[in-house]
Subunit: 525 residues, 2 copies
């Protein structure tokens, strides 16, 4: 079933000599299949096919694209247990998580199908002409969003389904009218191929042009570099490390024609625990956060890596409780030995810093590739002085910072790099005394959470999954929710264009019955 080949458009292809294998971290063994790394020629071919496909696909109606997106969801579901098994073997994640992520993935695909079928997402806008206006006639202008062109999507190590081959970036781009070339994540190339086969099957069944989707296998960086620097590629989506995302951003910025790169690169997701909350329910919060820190073995970009409080007895007892609760949680498997290695190294680097106190660091017999979860604590002063402690440790590790006072806590928040989320844990109305802190936090994050945990990213129109750099490379967009389609489209105007030749979205008679801004009024007429 898994061939190890690339999809160059609808065609399975393996022209190259370089192969690689995926790895089962739970069993600590390589998996049988050999994946064929795409050659430069295969990649060139995929881009050429995508460029050709764009000329056809960009004209397809929302209804037609919706049929395609729903067919992808159906084909993914039809993969059934096979998908779950391959997913689990390539990630060490449990079947429940696999099923949940699959549910999220097909939900996203169907949400985008609904969006483009309904059609108002193009933000159609009409300003009627006034031919007899003086001193000059007012032209008739009509605007709508149109797709950018072929989009390259990089699969994420930690979300083989929802942020990879048929994940949010791909679903949004296909919905927008952009062909997609996926650079499959080499850690779960088998899962990627299964999903790619579902997309190709759906494309063939629903009459999509060959090249609307390709899937590229590569363990080396060259493939990504070739794709991002290719003149016919018009945008890039990425989820992963700051180092990886920035490298792609830099390649794109150096092109003769720079292109948009939306890279979501994770963060440490600061959590502020306010004094009264700490006093009244410190233990409960500690318990909740022990769960949030270790959820998915801490392998979420919204994992809470930094907890801030005002030093004192309550914070000390919260720290103790968090340490003891986190020790009670069974360790779990990480995605790959490399990720496990990087985690242990990062954690060790953090706790080896001067004046860092280890609160919990699981030891004893831990299975290979399983993470030893940990918590450390430092003073606000130490944290401010040592930027090593600001770095994300990807995995189940968190630092609790005991600040001398609110001023120091605010200083820490102000000095943070951009973050996906910020959380305030507050007792009832306590937060209303901290408007300055909230404002400072808002400057640094894309989403503010009240009395909750940052893990768990709801897929809905009001979600922002993004934030100031380096949480993302462009805070003006979100990676989650239907608004993520805006990353892959541009506004386009027609001036005095004949009504019969306008796209349906802009015709006088509004044949698609979409919501439009007509001479300043939003309506469906």
């Amino acid at each position: 079933m898994i061939t190890g080949k690339n999809y160059i458009g609808n065609q399975l292809s393996s022209e190259g000599d370089i192969t690689f294998k995926t790895f089962n971290p739970e069993l600590n063994v390589s998996i049988q299949n050999n994946f064929s790394q795409a050659t430069a020629e295969e990649i060139e071919n995929a881009v050429a096919k995508a460029t050709e496909a764009f000329d056809v696909y960009k004209h397809f109606s929302g209804a037609k694209k919706a049929i395609f997106l729903r067919a992808i969801a159906d084909e993914i579901e039809a993969l059934d247990e096979k998908l779950i098994n391959v997913y689990c073997s390539e990630t060490g994640l449990p079947a429940g998580r696999a099923a949940g992520e699959r549910g999220r993935t097909v939900f996203q695909l169907r949400s985008f199908a609904d969006l483009v079928e309904e059609g108002s997402w193009v933000e159609a806008s009409i300003d009627s002409g006034i031919p007899d206006r003086t001193p000059a006639p007012k032209p008739d202008l009509r605007k709508m969003n149109i797709p950018l062109g072929p989009v390259v999507v990089f699969g994420a190590s930690n979300f083989p389904l929802a942020y990879s081959t048929a994940g949010g970036d791909t679903a949004a781009a296909l919905a927008a009218g952009c062909p997609v070339i996926v650079k499959s994540h080499p850690m779960h190339a088998g899962t990627g191929e299964l999903i790619a086969s579902a997309i190709i099957k759906a494309a063939e069944k629903t009459g999509m042009p060959n090249g609307v989707f390709s899937n590229i296998n590569a363990k080396d960086y060259d493939a990504g570099q070739q794709l991002v620097s290719h003149p016919k590629v018009k945008a890039v989506g990425f989820t992963g490390s700051i180092k990886g995302g920035r490298a792609l951003l830099d390649i794109a910025a150096k092109r003769e024609e720079p292109i948009p790169v939306f890279a979501e690169m994770g963060s440490i997701n600061p959590v502020v625990v306010l004094p009264k909350a700490l006093q009244n329910r410190g233990n409960e919060i500690a318990n909740t956060y022990a769960g949030s820190i270790t959820l998915g073995t801490g392998q979420f970009c919204t994992n809470p890596g930094l907890i801030l409080g005002i030093a004192g007895e309550e914070l000390s007892s919260f720290i103790d409780e968090l340490g003891s609760k986190i020790k009670e949680i069974n360790p779990s498997c990480m995605l790959h030995p490399n990720i496990h290695g990087a985690y242990e190294k990062g954690k060790q680097q953090a706790i080896n810093q001067n004046k860092v106190t280890i609160v919990a660091n699981l030891d004893g017999e831990i299975q290979t590739n399983y993470a030893s979860q940990g918590v450390a604590t430092v003073s606000g002063k130490t944290f401010l002085e040592n930027s090593t402690l600001h770095h994300e440790v990807f995995g189940p590790f968190s630092i609790v910072v005991a600040c001398e006072n609110l001023k120091e806590l605010e200083e820490i928040v102000t000095g943070l790099e951009g973050q996906l989320t910020g959380t305030i844990i507050s007792d009832d109305d306590e937060i209303s005394n901290y408007s300055e802190l909230v404002a400072k936090m808002q400057n640094r994050v894309g989403r503010l959470i009240f009395n909750g945990v940052p893990t768990g990213v709801e897929v809905c129109p009001s979600m922002v999954h993004g934030g100031p750099y380096p949480a993302s490379t462009d805070s003006r967009f979100t990676a989650v929710g239907v608004n993520s389609i805006k990353r892959w489209v541009r506004p386009f105007s027609f001036q005095n264009w004949p009504n019969s030749l306008l796209p349906d979205e802009l015709k006088d008679e509004n044949p698609l019955h979409i919501t439009r801004l007509v001479n300043g009024e939003l309506n469906k007429s």
Copy 2:
């Protein structure tokens, strides 16, 4: 009245030793005033003030910002003839143009005032929580657009009012809630200071925080470089040359925290004249285009620099007519000797290329700094082979390309760099036979015009002034119309946030009565 000083926030300031003068191209003399180039310290101070102002200004209601924007418009109008006189002396442009551009500038300011007063531009979106959803509760999520932070705006040489100090970039940023630091264009620093004084007066009268606006004089590149690379600057707006815009983009891309640069860098605005139109009204089209090419001495980014047709008798007679009509037009003054010099050099370079035929190139007695308008013609083959001919010649010059056939014409269109506009001149329904051509043109431009001229950019919500690179650095935004505000804002989510602490835009009771997306339904309730 004109002091030659910088505005560092509300304060006139001239700490540096370097000064420069503006120039009257009509009289070919320097103008009296000495403008003080801002020092690195003054620039640092302007950014610090903007950063402080942001913390206050970002919380101001739409109603309050509207009062400020309208006050700016009023203060600009109060400058009256003084502004017109300084404008004309610094640009060589006629008073009618100055008054027209002033009208456009205040219209833009008032349009943004209306936009933020009405309030729906924040695209508020609410997804209500479902606490008892299984397997996990659905959180309450609410999203709206918030300002990015301090924005640096570079004044444009060719639009001292509408694209400079209080132009579209500034108006949009102030409307969004972003303080603005203008790097005034050194060719019209006096006009810039007058407008800056109007903005400062308006800011003081309406209680805006000191630092919400600064105006920086500089003839050297260092000031711009310092501003764009400053960590506290969060976005950049620019209108000007490809070289200048790209330099700023590159500086921004190399920052530790890359920031958005929206640079609108002009284009050659291809015009296709279809055969029947040429046959039936070639002379009329020639006459219209002689006017469009020379409008404003060709100093518009929408100036038609490239006219494409199918070779034949009709095209030849169109070319002759265009040449003779353009010779009948009186030459006019360019903005500055440097711009005039660059124009003559660029035109000369184009017509000196192999196999280029000069159709018209005004000679004889032409006043100093006045442009000698010109038209040249080449075959499609020559144009395809020689990329020098694809470069913009900023001024009243256009190349007519005689293509061998439609295929060659389409090949030229496909190979063009990104353009602000594309125009099709068609006889009635003739265009319906050219859907392939139209599709190819759409790929390369931001706005398609039917039977008109690209010059004249209507300010309305349906306008797109932007386009694929290098027309702009990010085709996903427009520089003109109220939607240009989207360049300076980012979406922001609140999760489970207490209703009383939410911004008014997101409160349950919708106190601002704005249009919001509430659980999938657009409404004002």
